[in-house]
């Protein structure tokens, strides 16, 4: 009787030991798998966060789920889900690069158009400012001082836009060029000038 009890206890102990050993043997691979995914995300995160933020968030959410499984010691679940997630994480770099290329191409096209049109806009407004500066009395509603201020700002900003483009910073160049357009249009509005595509000046 006692021998049977000892045998049963021994069997149960051995089973528990084997189970623990199996779990422990999966822990390190699970940990390594998670580390690999984190590394892949980290490599891509700079451009991914800027150009494919939703895709990055999706991968990060799935990683959080895997980490939750790891914390619950469900290493089997981690090892089952990790390969697919690693593939997704590794895909972020290429996806971000493609999206970045498309964005840069669009920005370059924007710059080309603005580089052609903005100097003409600024020159046209400047010509009117020069003429009105000779006038004894500007027409009613014309704010020459405001126009001069906006025109000076436009000219300064255009220099910054060109410098940014020369430094291969197309995004900054386009953003500065948009500000140039806004300032030049504000100057034109102060002079009661009509520009193509702009709303007619009030009064």
């Amino acid at each position: 009787m006692m021998t049977k009890q000892y045998k049963l206890a021994g069997f149960l102990t051995m089973t528990a030991v084997l189970l623990l050993a199996a779990c422990a043997s999966q822990m390190e691979p699970a940990q390594t798998a998670i580390a690999g995914i984190e590394s892949a995300i980290s490599s891509a995160s700079a451009d991914a966060s800027k150009y494919i933020p939703d895709q990055l968030s999706g991968v990060q959410a799935k990683l959080a789920d895997l980490k939750a499984d790891f914390d619950k010691k469900d290493y089997k679940a981690v090892l089952a889900g990790a390969p697919a997630l690693l593939s997704e994480a590794q895909g972020l770099l290429g996806a971000a690069a493609m999206k970045k290329e498309a964005v840069m191409k669009a920005l370059s096209a924007d710059w080309t158009g603005m580089a052609a049109s903005l100097p003409q806009l600024v020159a046209t407004v400047k010509s009117r400012v020069d003429m009105l500066s000779k006038s004894k009395h500007a027409p009613a509603g014309v704010d020459l001082a405001a126009a001069k201020t906006n025109l000076a700002d436009a000219t300064t900003l255009w220099g910054k836009a060109q410098a940014a483009f020369s430094a291969n910073n197309v995004e900054e160049a386009v953003n500065a060029a948009k500000e140039v357009k806004a300032k030049a249009e504000a100057a034109a509005a102060a002079l009661k000038m009509k520009l193509p595509g702009a709303a007619p000046a009030a009064g």
Partner: protein
Amino acid sequence: MDSNDKSATGAANPYAQTHEVQKGDTLGKIAQQYYGDPGLYMQIFEANKSQLKDPNKIFPGQKLVIP
């Protein structure tokens, strides 16, 4: 930076300011309208010498560049 109706590359300036001459217009009246000073009429004449031979002779329908 050159202005009026052409850029340095010769491309048309989409922002060039123009005035279509109406019956009764004179360069003086047009200068008054845009500059508040009829005495600046010669500036308009100079900008339109390709189509105006005499600053006192303008005709309805003419499209004048207004610098």
